[in-house]
Point group: C2
Chain length 492, copies 2
């Protein structure tokens, strides 16, 4: 725990991996590509879940739970969706182990217990859910159907990284059904906005809302809306997506309804999700060479209090004062922990809380008791100040807001300074190599150009921003006409 992290300047990727492990967020498991989310990391995820769940319910959604398994015949019903996930899905073929007949003490798969039909572990649940919706939807009275599921999914990725890309991950997936195309598109947009609001207000990460190009769309979607964030190393990260699925799944699973005129029609669909990947975005947006930096909204402990004492009497006197402080702070909905462990010295405690990103540290010693003061240390700015005990609660309340806002504004400044308009491909390549970030450039709208640029630079079109203006120009690569700029970046 006490060893220093690799600095971001030295090796950003190594810094990230070390931080995740040393700050007790997650670690690799014995299963290839699957992570263990440790209690401290999970506590942050729980806070994200609680807030998102509240926002989903406020917009009329209900939770439900659908099976982990998708029979192969259902999985392949929506062809594009199946093709998109076929290359990375875990497949259950047997349902029993038997003792090895060679008496080696090992178990082996029982060849007699082969499933008639293979089961795919859900990489996403459209297939199993739309197969279920067929039984739930008969009439327009059954619509809209607004459902969310919190679940684990599996995508057999070859290159994995803690939180950012793991074979199993946790997420939520909304699956809604609507009477009209317009209503489904409005839902798609609404949920993308919910994600943007959550990520900006709670995670303190500015995002750009946009739509994906055809080749970057979700497999089976007619349109994919997204929120794109920029990490400190100038690479983009897709933080959430919301898909307008048209009638593709309704047709594949034969989900029709009687509309108000009594005519049968296929249902319109959306799906939308965010995952434990958000943890990666949180870490890479705010943290520094000393470790994690958490926005107060998502910190399991917003404040930690460390006593500095030389005798049991001093500790007792400090504890009395701390009990009062904790009562006041908790009465103001601030989560606070008194780190009175006797097994660790103050220096070790400071280092740990810094590494774990606790937004505010209060140190209180014998002299503070005499003076009626405490020492505050902000994690985000690494600044300290001595303040009057009598004003402490108000000061802490103010700091919670200030730190939250300051983290957002710092990230926003960085992001805004890293959107570069370019008009030539040379410029494009130079900016990508020297400055990185988002590159705003004209594109001719073809998948060929998109592919070629990706091949040459590794940059992809992150999105066509929702607020992009009409602007005549020529494609940065092909020179063909273009009507608006899109955002390119290298991405996680």
């Amino acid at each position: 725990m006490s060893k220093k992290l690799t600095s971001r300047a030295d090796d950003y990727s190594k810094w990230y991996n070390e931080l995740v492990v040393k700050a007790d967020l997650a670690e690799n498991s014995a299963v290839r590509g699957c992570m263990v989310i440790k209690p401290y990391g999970y506590a942050i995820w729980e806070k994200m879940q609680a807030e998102l769940d509240k926002m989903f319910k406020e917009t009329g959604h209900q939770n439900a739970y659908f099976p982990l398994f998708v029979p192969k015949s259902l999985f392949e019903a929506e062809e594009k969706n199946a093709e998109g996930f076929a290359k990375e899905c875990a497949i259950v073929t047997h349902y029993r182990l038997q003792n090895d007949p060679d008496k080696t003490g090992k178990l082996r798969v029982d060849p007699e217990a082969k499933l008639e039909e293979e089961l795919i572990i859900r990489p996403t649940s459209e297939a199993i859910i739309w197969n279920t919706y067929r039984g739930w939807i008969q009439s327009y009275r059954d619509l809209p159907l607004l459902i969310n599921q919190w679940a684990n999914v599996v995508r057999w990725e070859m290159r994995t990284r803690l939180f950012l890309r793991t074979a199993e991950f946790l997420w939520q997936e909304g699956h809604t059904a609507h009477e009209t195309k317009a209503e489904a598109i409005a839902e798609t947009q609404q949920m993308n906005q919910v994600y943007a609001t959550f990520v900006e207000n709670f995670m303190a990460i500015p995002v750009i809302q946009g739509v994906k190009t055809e080749s970057e769309r979700f497999a089976g979607a007619e349109d994919t809306y997204c929120i794109e964030a920029l990490m400190q190393d100038g690479k983009a990260l897709q933080a959430g997506t919301s898909h307008f699925l048209g009638q593709n799944f309704a047709k594949a699973f034969d989900v029709k309804f009687a509309n108000k005129e009594g005519k049968q029609d296929y249902v319109w669909a959306t799906s939308w999700g965010v995952s434990t990947r958000l943890m990666g975005a949180l870490i890479m947006t705010h943290s520094d060479d000393n470790g994690l930096v958490l926005p107060p909204s998502l910190a399991p402990n917003q404040v930690v209090i460390v006593p500095i004492y030389k005798s049991d009497e001093q500790l007792e006197a400090i504890t009395n004062v701390v009990n009062g402080i904790m009562n006041d702070l908790r009465g103001n909905d601030i989560t606070v922990k008194f780190d009175n462990r006797t097994t660790h010295r103050p220096g070790a405690k400071f280092a740990q809380h810094e590494l774990q990103g606790v937004p505010l540290r209060i140190a209180i010693g014998a002299r503070d008791l005499e003076n009626g003061t405490v020492e505050l240390a902000r994690r985000d700015t690494l600044t300290k100040e001595t303040v009057e005990l009598s004003n402490l609660t108000e000061i802490v309340k103010g700091l919670m807001t200030e730190i939250q806002d300051s983290l957002y504004n710092k990230a926003l400044d960085y992001r805004n300074n890293h959107i570069t308009e370019v008009d030539t491909f040379d410029e494009f390549k130079t900016v990508l190599e020297t400055k990185a970030g988002f590159i705003s450039a004209h594109w001719d709208g073809t998948a060929e150009t998109e592919d070629k640029i990706k091949e040459l630079t590794k940059a992809t079109i992150r999105c066509i921003p929702l607020d992009s203006k009409d602007e005549d120009g020529v494609c940065v690569y092909s020179g063909n006409p273009s009507e608006r700029r899109v955002l390119f970046a290298k991405a996680y």
Copy 2:
């Protein structure tokens, strides 16, 4: 929705299956043995989760998340545990589908994408968790380690029933590590007590706490504590278990710690869990021939208000009054829903809310407005009364407590009337066939007798109650000496 349920007297099992589906709790899915938990059923489960999670945290536990998969070599490391689950586990053998070379448009498992080592889908997580704990525990300072996980697990059961026994189910599993045997046993007992408190106070289901016989123990445990409930048909249901695992998993996964004297020792372990099976217990304890009966503590809507009106003006006047009622009730933490759907008549609404077990229904019509009254209908007793609007909030608050208590007491009376002491095997068989319930009888302590009784009667030893008294007697089957009575029953 409007068709009557099969009565319990006619066919208890059919009544249960119909109720689960018609009350919108769950349904069977396209995957053999796996269920879909519908929004209304899931809302009840969420309430259970929230309360249990609070109780776990209050007793010092933290949540974390471990992989869905267990590599076969880890799965088999603790031999008894592996043997216990080997016959019912789903096995992942491949990680990719490919297009069928015969161009049938179907996908098939890619034979090139065979895993080097098979992955077992967790039927329980001791193996993957204890393999992880090895890296987390070095010294007594790392103990106790008190962790819980909310997750899905898979057990490939051949005969499944909604909630009671499904191939995939949702649960929580606590996994703790301790310095001493005594501390681990105390944890095992504490968590069994937490389950008993939850099930009695929130689910209004009386339980008997006890320990399992050796043959009914969790595979790999040294002792299994349990809570046993009695369903309305006289069959027992194991509602939760808490296991003292000794040092079995520590030894299998080599988890040692330096104790306070600096000596290396194996860690002592517990695990404990409850699952969506609790939903089955809830349904079968309180519900009646009209449908679900929910205790107020777990009802998604504690109160539903149905307007009775003949004109839009009447509905408007009623709505004004209802808004005031809802404000008052919500201010008292009572969840209330105004069922102002125009697509359904009052009679259909009454039937639906009765079927779905809403504890209290308020009907309010034009005459009520004139008289300053409303009509209350209790779901548990099916009784109605007209009360003054001015006292409504106090009356409803009182009824919430009264209904909760009344459901518990009714279940307790039934349970207590169905514990029968018998001293001969003839009596044993007669009681089992005529009255069912728990049979309190002497047993000689051998697995042979236990097996024989099970074979002859289908009754198993549910538990040795914690409060059972020393009492000399002779085994009801073998006539051999016995020191205490145990509880037998047929069970779910």
